[in-house]
């Protein structure tokens, strides 16, 4: 099963490499990884999506918690949560295809953020599944480049991940 694990991390040199190293050292899989400072500049927030059974995910959270630089760990998929990922996707777009890209982007609430006579670049925000669906809808034939940010997540309601 896919899990979104959110980590509060000391904003120290080398802290990120400890997290990434842990995943490779213990043979855990990383699907996406995002990291950035928070409102508190001593802390970073890191989000990892991974796939594994309950036993593996239990080990991942326990091993993450063991890292001295890790302040808190939560598996967002254990509760109600919101996930978002940003994608920028560049299409070879000319003729009638330009209209199709525009129409599909509108349906997915994407925006066209760059245009040349031969290309369209679309920005799309949503769950990873929504981004996948957008690519499926247009097909990959005319795709020139895809950039995805990886998943960020936050718990719904009053639950917060903080000190």
């Amino acid at each position: 099963m896919r899990h979104i694990i959110s980590v509060l991390l000391e904003n120290e040199p080398g802290a990120l490499s400890r997290v990434v190293g842990l995943f490779s050292q213990r043979n855990f899989n990383i699907e996406t990884l995002t990291v950035a400072p928070t409102d508190d500049d001593t802390l970073s927030r890191l989000t990892v999506t991974t796939v594994g059974d309950d036993r593996v995910v239990e080990q991942i959270t326990k091993q993450l918690n063991k890292l001295i630089d890790v302040v808190k760990v939560v598996d967002l998929t254990e509760g109600e949560h919101i996930e978002r990922e940003l994608m920028m996707i560049k299409f070879k777009a000319s003729g009638a295809y330009r209209a199709e890209v525009k129409r599909t982007a509108d349906i997915f609430r994407g925006q066209i953020i760059d245009i040349t006579p031969n290309t369209y670049t679309v920005q799309l925000v949503g769950s990873s599944a929504k981004l996948d669906a957008f690519i499926d809808a247009l097909g990959t034939t005319n795709v020139i480049e895809v950039v995805r940010s990886g998943v960020s997540g936050i718990a719904r309601g009053e639950k917060v991940l903080s000190l």
Binding site: G14, S17, K62, K66, I68, D69
Partner: protein, 572 residues
Amino acid sequence: MELLSGAEMVVRALRDQGVKYIYGYPGGALLHLYDAIFQQDEVEHILVRHEQAATHMADAYARATGKAGVALVTSGPGATNAVTGIATAYMDSIPMVVITGQVMSHLIGEDAFQETDMIGISRPIVKHSFSIQRPEEIPEVIRKAFHIAESGRPGPVVVDIPKDMTTPTDRFQYEFPADVKLRSYNPVTKGHSGQIKKAFDMLMSAKRPVIYTGGGVIMGDASAELIELAQALNFPVTNTLMGLGGYPGTDRQFIGMLGMHGSYEANMAMHHSDLILAVGARFDDRVTNATEKFCPTAKIIHIDVDPASISKTIRADVPIVGAAKLVLEDMIQLLKGTKKSVDQAALASWWKQIDEWRERHGGRFLTDSELMKPQQVIEMLSKVTNGDAYVCSDVGQHQMFAAQYYKFNKPNRWINSGGLGTMGFGLPAAMGVKLNFPDADVACVTGEGSIQMNIQELSTCKQYDMPVKIICLNNQSLGMVRQWQDMNYESRHSQSYMKSLPDFVKLVESYGHVGIKVDKYSDLEAAMIEAFSLKDRLVFMDIAVDPHEHVYPMQVPRGTMRDMWLSKTERT
């Protein structure tokens, strides 16, 4: 307030931390620091001949005392030579602080002379690491390093110090912090009372219980509590390789080590048990055999200070996160306050069964050949030292024989590389213990293979007068490799035979030590008594043993706990 250079602060902080000895080897990046060491006499530096030995000395000090040992190595090759020692300590959860020199900060990343990314190299084998960014933070970082190394599940901590952090002319106010707090690190020590109560009720209703304990009892200083609880309950106790000495080896309730080379009765008892109380042990693959076939009828209570060790390989029915000492204390209190008693009839018949197993195959080896058996040597060592010596082992067959046949009655006396299995560990480990316990008998049990991996330390022993006793079980082959080749590769002894052994007696004599060669069992006792009576001399006993001997019992791979070879021809 006094102004100190970064180099002086390192030394002062070690002193203020209560460090007496540091083990190390100088080099370019450490010259300021070595100059600061030279100018004081409160922290004594022991110069090894190879950095690996420095780490093992520090490690063994920690294993014998529970306090972090300190190694000091220079950048580049000094640091990489220390890697094996750091990994050894990491695998066995041993507190250690390793200070590594680093090139000047402005050169980092430029492939400078003797530069290596030690923080990166050591990352998977440390509990934590620090890279000094400003000289002023040295006292606090060193204080934190010891705190992290020694608390919770202990482990090695690396402190990497660029040379310019120790410049003698840059001076700073020195203050050693009385205490440290890390918001992200607060290991749980007190067990959850509800879980402990639940576990206690299971103990009281068990019919075929086993207490299975590991290194957590030794490093967690929980031996006294274990003995009290086990004896009050009259439950059988088995120890892992790392846990030997946690429960007295000569006590009736001790059923031996368990696992791959565990005793017949310990492995049988585990397999047939209905309740396992695991304390500070981690269900390692050398213990469990095939995990899916592990102890099919047993419920499992698992006490460990590290939550990640619980349910990692074997799912615990009752997990208890906490320090072994505190959790066992809580269980003793519950036992004192209860009117319930264990099922005496069931326990009596369980003991009858265990005694039958013990009778059938307990601690037995054949003495049919002319050659001396390695087991006989260990039994003699146990006899000559009254089971009271610090036994520092290398890795291989001799290690298993020492674990099986030396009767450890006290914790912290069995010093071996259990997790990593580091050949070359034994001699530096014995040195680290002897230096700190000069009046104790300290034996290094080794083989002619392992001893040659750090034999250069005979020179260090001479310089600092460390009269350890080296008990070399010389079978002229890499015995454990040979055993596996005998059992699994139709005796094709690929690279496990040593054709060019030195004359060890002459070799040690050239270092100024005493060598004794023993070929016959009839000479062994007198020779060993003589060796231990030479209190001020290092004695190397080169003891010829049967090269064909195997370690038994040996679990059959991918089987249950009870599937064992009991000799070359017999299996369960």
